[in-house]
């Protein structure tokens, strides 16, 4: 196992990790509640995943296998950078396979492959407060959470319906956790919201420069806000993935020429690849059976 010289295992000192673990325990005990913690300065900029990194650094052990994704992909530059950070400072094994990972740090997506009870999903969160754009003051939003005073958000969603005929929030879509706290799911597309509900894996959220940690324990109810007559719905595409043919995953739109022609491909690269591999294998198997 190799670690960077001069730094503790996984960069943070043990005292800081202990402080963060305490915050995580509190967060797990009060699902959806934002726990303030003494966020440390990290060697990456704020807004680039420092919150997720602090959570990862505090829960990671030598036996862990880490996967890092950004926009669903393992090979986006920031995912590469964060994965390298832990490979260097903690010397842990890394993987691109969702199923093989014990810890997954993510920005903006939940993997398409369902997560299991022995996994932890760690979200990078830029702004943890779901009410922030309705009420910028922390002193006010704290009160609103304490009193479960969430009418303002319902009004905002209603205004969308009145103006556009739909709830016009397409990502960062607010949820209610365990019927008590309104929570910001981080800027994942609302497509991913249903995956949070009763997920067997532990979900941890770290907001670095806002100094907040929150959590959704395994098998907790997570409900996306909606109205009886305007139920919550997720994005759908007319196209299938151009690479693996998936008709049910979140698709990225890629412009492929100057004329603006488009192709659609899975945003989850590991999912797309494993579908291709399976397709090739089953094709080979079919051929073998036939011959």
């Amino acid at each position: 196992m190799s670690t960077a010289t001069g730094y503790n295992f996984a960069y943070l000192d043990e005292q800081s990790k202990r402080m963060i673990r305490r915050a995580i325990l509190k967060a797990v005990a009060i699902p959806g509640y934002q726990v303030p913690f003494g966020g440390r300065e990290m060697p990456l900029p704020h807004g680039w995943g420092t919150g997720g990194m602090q959570v990862t650094a505090s829960v990671i052990g030598e036996a862990d296998r880490l996967k890092v994704i950004d926009q669903g992909a393992d090979d986006t530059t920031n995912a590469v950078s964060i994965r390298r950070f832990f490979a260097t400072t903690a010397g842990v094994e890394t993987t691109e396979s969702t199923a093989a990972a014990s810890l997954i740090q993510t920005r903006h997506r939940i993997p398409e492959t369902p997560l299991q009870a022995d996994q932890i999903l760690i979200y990078q969160v830029p702004i943890p407060e779901p009410l922030r754009f309705i009420e910028p003051r922390e002193t006010e939003t704290r009160k609103m959470h304490a009193l479960s005073e969430y009418g303002a958000m319902q009004v905002k969603l209603y205004e969308d319906v009145a103006r556009f005929g739909h709830i016009a929030t397409s990502y960062d879509y607010p949820v209610m956790v365990n019927n008590r706290y309104m929570m910001d799911p981080s800027p994942i597309p609302k497509f991913d919201n249903p995956k949070m509900n009763r997920m067997p894996a532990l979900q941890l959220f770290g907001a670095g420069f806002e100094k907040r940690i929150y959590a959704v324990p395994p098998y907790t109810e997570v409900k996306s806000l909606d109205f009886d007559d305007y139920p919550f719905e997720v994005q759908r595409w007319d196209e299938n993935c151009a690479i693996c043919g998936s008709d049910h995953s979140f698709l990225d739109e890629v412009i492929i020429d100057d004329a603006g022609s488009k192709m659609f491909v899975c945003s989850d690269t590991d999912y797309c690849r494993s579908r291709q591999t399976n397709a090739t294998e089953s094709a080979t198997a079919t051929e073998e059976t036939l011959s």
Binding site: M42, P43, G47, Q71, S81, R137, P187, Q235
Partner: protein, 369 residues
């Protein structure tokens, strides 16, 4: 095609190699040393130490070199280093009244005990480009020697505001019966609003100089009610003392070059108190007058609520100022827009296309009626 939007490890390595090459510039020109930066760009070094929250001119100079002279990047480097340092202990409160003064001015009194000393300053220079610096470099030091030498620093002298205090004309900086208490450390604990004055000052001292300068400017122009007098500005060396547990008494562990600013603000009084001047306080590492003055101005603006003034403007609003003052945070969050957001953007595209389709369909229906 598709791979073009995804980066890779190789791309990162190449980009960093190119950055190092750009930083070095033309190799036929001598490389800049950290020592040269420390000695010849001391004001840049001071800013990096202040906002980086580490008093170490050598490391600040190194950070500036590594960051190609970008102050915010250099500050970030120093901060990321600082966060890994162990806390050996906390110093005793600094006694700035005992400062070995190099520069001291007051905008409130023409003469005062201890006198006024201009020291080293850009004030009163005419801002004309000095082409001799371009042509043949600085004149030899002997020709530059000021008439008073460094040896003749002023003795410790009382603070100007204490002179006003004797007459009770200015508020006490602490109540007579106020007990000592250890201030919270904002690098260890999250800030809770409303924040106490010590936390506000900690935040401002490491706050972005430009942000604080502009907020101060706004408060002086009427967006806020702060148009004070510079009671005193002083720069010089101050001893740092520490009480090691084994000894139980204070020992000197070194000194810091500091700039301190005390502003005298307009009257303030209420039913229980006759009118008095109020204070705004600023302290900064090095020769950082602009910073110390800006801190003092904004600090006073942020006392609006405590002093029973109306909070009308952003510079009087704690949450607004304290949550946005940090250049490392601000730069990080603004620059994170460079990261891919294509999942979120795709979600927005899908939404806007759907809305437009529906509106178009509705319009068609209307026209066909």
């Amino acid at each position: 095609m598709y791979v073009a939007v995804k980066g890779g490890e190789k791309a990162i390595d190449n980009a960093h190699a190119l950055m190092r090459k750009t930083r070095r510039g033309d190799e036929s020109i001598t490389e800049l040393t950290v020592e040269q930066i420390r000695e010849q760009l001391p004001l840049a070094v001071d800013r990096v130490m202040n906002e980086g929250s580490v008093y170490d001119p050598e490391l600040a100079a190194l950070a500036l070199k590594q960051a190609s002279g970008d102050a915010v990047e250099a500050i970030f480097l120093l901060r990321a280093y600082r966060t890994t340092l162990p806390r050996i202990g906390y110093s005793e409160p600094l006694d700035t009244e005992a400062m070995q003064i190099e520069r001291r001015i007051s905008g409130t009194f023409k003469d005062l005990p201890g006198g006024q000393v201009l020291g080293s300053t850009y004030d009163y220079t005419h801002r004309l480009l000095d082409f001799t610096l371009l042509a043949e470099g600085e004149a030899p030091i002997s020709a530059l020697d000021p008439e008073t030498s460094d040896e003749e620093t002023l003795d410790a002298c009382p603070r100007v505001l204490e002179l006003l205090n004797k007459e009770g004309l200015i508020e006490q900086s602490r109540e007579a019966d106020e007990a000592d208490h250890t201030p919270a450390d904002l690098t260890r604990e999250p800030v809770n609003y409303p924040a106490e004055r010590a936390v506000r000052l900690q935040n401002l001292v490491r706050g972005d100089e430009g942000f604080l300068l502009s907020l101060s400017y706004a408060s002086m122009r009427g967006y806020g009610d702060s148009h004070p007098f510079a009671g005193e500005l002083r720069s010089g060396r101050v001893n740092v003392e520490l009480v090691p547990e084994e000894l139980g008494f204070a020992i000197e562990i070194g000194d810091l070059f500091l700039t301190e600013c005390e502003m005298v603000n307009q009257f303030h009084g209420n039913k229980n108190q006759p009118p008095q001047f109020t204070r705004g306080y600023g302290l900064a590492f090095g020769r950082s007058e602009r910073k110390a003055m800006s801190v003092a101005l904004v600090e006073r603006s942020l006392r609006a609520e405590e002093l029973g003034e109306e909070v009308l403007y952003p510079n009087q609003d704690q949450e607004f100022v304290l949550s946005h003052s940090d250049c490392v945070s601000a730069n990080g969050f603004v620059s994170h827009l460079k990261l891919p957001h294509y999942v979120d953007f795709q979600s927005e595209l899908e939404m806007i296309r759907r809305l437009r389709r529906e509106i178009a369909a509705a319009t068609d229906e209307e026209n066909n009626k």
